[in-house]
Amino acid sequence: MTAIALTLKKPIFRIEKAPQPILILSWIIVLTVIGWALFPSLFTDYSPYAGDPAASFASPSLEHWFGTDRLGRDLFARTVYGSRTTLTATLLAVLIAFGLGAVVGLAAGFSGGIVDTAIMRVVDVFLAIPSLLLAMVVVSVLGYSTNNIALAVGISAIAAFARVMRAQVLTVVNQDYVKAAYGLGVGRLGVMLRHVVPNSLSSVIALAALEIGTGVLAVASLGFLGYGAPPPQPEWGLLVAEGRDYVAVHPWASILPGLALAIVVIATHRISTSFRKEHRR
C-alpha cells in the first residue's frame, strides 16, 4: 500500500528548461517552409515551370541558389513550389490517419471486450503489411496522383494511430479519476468526452507531430518512385528522382532538393520530441 505513496511522491526539484537554440531553429525552418507552401511567389522570382534551356545544369550560385535542371528551370523555385504539393499531401494524410485512427482506437479501448478484440485483430492485419507497400498497392488501385498518395499514406498509417490511441485510452480508463467520476454519478458519455478523450489525445497529438515528418518522407518516397504528380509539376520526391539520372555529373540537382527535404523532416522530429517531453511532465 505504502509503496504507491512512495513512488508517487512529487518530484521536489523540477529541472527548468534552458533555452534550446536547436528547437528554435527547427521552428524557424518549419515556419519558413509553411510560408513557402502558402505564398511561394514571395520567396522566389523564378517560375517553377519556365526555364531557359541555354542555362541548363547551372551550378548553384547567387542567381540560382540550388542551380538549374536539365531544362534550365530554377531548382530553388521548383523546391519552393514543390513544398505546397508535398505538404498538402502530408497534411491530408496525417488528418486521415489521425481522425480515423483516434476514433477507431477510442472505440476499441473504451468499449473493451469483443468489440476491442475484433477491432484490434483488424488493426493487426494492417500492421502486418509494411506501410510503404500498402500505400503502393493502394495508389496502384486508385491511380497515380498526389491526392491518391495522400489517401494511401493516410490509410497505411491509420493502424498505428489506432494502436496508440487504444493503449492510451486503456491507461486513462483505469485511472482513479475515471473511476471517481463514475462514483460521483457522471454518465458513460460524460466520462468519455470530459475525461477519457482529453487525457488520451495528448499522446496521439504527439504522434501526429511525429507523423508529419514521417508523412513527408512517405509522400516524397512515393513521389520518388513515380506514383505522384506527373512532371512537370514540382514535388520534392520527384525533384530528387529527376535529378538522379544526372547524379554522376551534376550531383546538386538531386542532392539539394533532397537535403531541403531532410532538413524539414529533422526539424519536425525535433519539434515533436519537444511535445512528447512536455507531455510526459
Binding site: I129, P130, L132, S140, G237, A241, V247, L259
Partner: protein, 316 residues
C-alpha cells in the same frame, strides 16, 4: 503454455488469411474493371473486345466474386498465385528467383543496424560527458529523418563517383553489396536505436542498478551485467516494425542502386500493374511478418523469467 502457443499460432494464421483477403478486395474487387489492370495502360484502347473477354475468362473475372475468392484462396494454400502478367511465369517462381538477393541484403543490413543501434545506446549510457551523450542521442532521429533515396544518392555520389571505391550499381559480389547495405542499415537502425537509448536510460535509473552501485560495482560492469539484458529485450518488440522498414527500405535501395531483388520487382510489378505478382508479394510479406511476430512471442518468455512464470502458472 500450450494454450499460449495455440493462441499465438492462431493469431498468425488469422493475420495471413486476412492479409490475403484484404489484397483480394483491393486488387480484384475494388477496381471497376479488373481486366483493364492486366493490360499496359497505353495499349488499352487498341485491344479488341474479344481479347478482353478471353482474358477475363482465363482469369475467372466473369465468375461470381465469392467463387473467384474461394478459387484463389484454394490455389494460394498450395502456393499457386497464378502467373505473372508481364513474364508469364508462375508468381512463386518469379519471387523465388529474386528472393535470395534481397534476403542477403536485408539480413546483412539487419545485423549491421542492430550493431549500430546497440553501439549508440551503449555509448549514450556509458559516457560521462554530456556533450557526447547529446550528440549520440541525436543520431537516431537523424537516421530516421533522412530519406533513403537521398542517403543512397549521397553515398553513391561520394563513394562511387567521387572516390571510386565501390561500383555504382549491379549485383555481383561483396563489392556491390557494401553501399546498398549501408544505405539500408541506417534508416533501419534509427528506430531500434531510439528504443534502445530510451530503455537503456530507464533501466540505468532502475532500483536494481542502485543496488549494484551499492555492492561496489563499477559503471561498465553495471551496464554489461545488469542493464544490457533488461534493456535489450524490448528491441524484440519492434521486430515487426523493423521488418516493415527493411521491406520499404529495400524497395528504394534496390531502385537507387539498380539491384535485382524483391523490392525492385515490387516496384516494377506495381508500375506495370502486374496484379497476380503484387498479390503474391503482399501475401508473402504478410506471412513473413506473421512468422517473425510469432517467433518473438515464443522467444520472449524464454528470455524473461517473469513472463515465463505467468504462463506456467496458468497451467498448473
Amino acid at each position: 503454455m500450450i494454450r499460449y502457443v495455440a493462441l499465438k499460432v492462431g493469431r498468425a494464421v488469422f493475420v495471413v488469411w486476412a492479409a490475403f483477403t484484404v489484397t483480394f478486395v483491393l486488387l480484384f474487387v475494388l477496381p471497376a474493371n479488373p481486366v483493364d489492370l492486366l493490360f499496359d495502360p497505353t495499349e488499352l484502347n487498341s485491344i479488341p473486345p474479344e481479347v478482353r473477354a478471353q482474358v477475363a475468362e482465363n482469369y475467372g473475372f466473369n465468375k461470381p466474386v465469392l467463387l473467384q475468392y474461394a478459387d484463389r484462396l484454394g490455389h494460394a494454400l498450395i502456393g499457386d498465385f497464378g502467373n505473372s502478367v508481364q513474364s508469364g511465369r508462375p508468381v512463386i517462381a518469379a519471387i523465388l528467383d529474386v528472393l535470395p538477393s534481397t534476403l542477403i541484403l536485408a539480413s546483412a543490413a539487419l545485423v549491421l543496424a542492430t550493431l549500430i543501434a546497440f553501439a549508440i545506446a551503449l555509448v549514450a549510457t556509458a559516457t560521462r560527458r554530456p556533450w557526447l551523450r547529446n550528440l549520440v542521442e541525436a543520431l537516431p532521429s537523424g537516421a530516421v529523418s533522412v530519406p533513403v533515396f537521398l542517403s543512397g544518392i549521397l553515398i553513391l555520389q561520394v563513394f562511387s563517383f567521387q572516390l571510386g571505391w565501390f561500383p555504382s550499381f549491379g549485383d555481383n559480389g561483396v563489392q556491390s553489396l557494401i553501399l546498398p547495405l549501408i544505405t539500408l542499415a541506417v534508416p533501419v537502425a534509427g528506430p531500434i536505436a531510439q528504443l534502445l537509448v530510451r530503455s537503456f536510460a530507464t533501466e540505468f535509473g532502475a532500483g536494481y542498478v542502485t543496488t549494484s552501485w551499492a555492492k561496489g560495482a563499477t559503471r561498465g560492469r553495471i551496464i554489461v551485467h545488469d542493464v544490457f539484458r533488461n534493456a535489450g529485450l524490448p528491441a524484440l518488440t519492434i521486430a515487426g516494425v523493423t521488418f516493415g522498414n527493411l521491406i520499404a527500405g529495400s524497395v528504394i535501395t534496390e531502385t537507387v542502386f539498380a539491384r535485382r531483388g524483391l523490392g525492385r520487382m515490387t516496384q516494377t510489378a506495381i508500375n506495370t500493374l502486374d496484379v497476380p505478382l503484387v498479390a503474391g508479394i503482399v501475401v508473402l510479406v504478410a506471412v513473413t511478418f506473421a512468422l517473425i511476430n510469432l517467433t518473438v512471442d515464443l522467444i520472449y518468455p524464454v528470455l524473461d523469467p517473469r513472463l515465463r512464470a505467468s504462463l506456467t502458472a496458468g497451467v498448473s
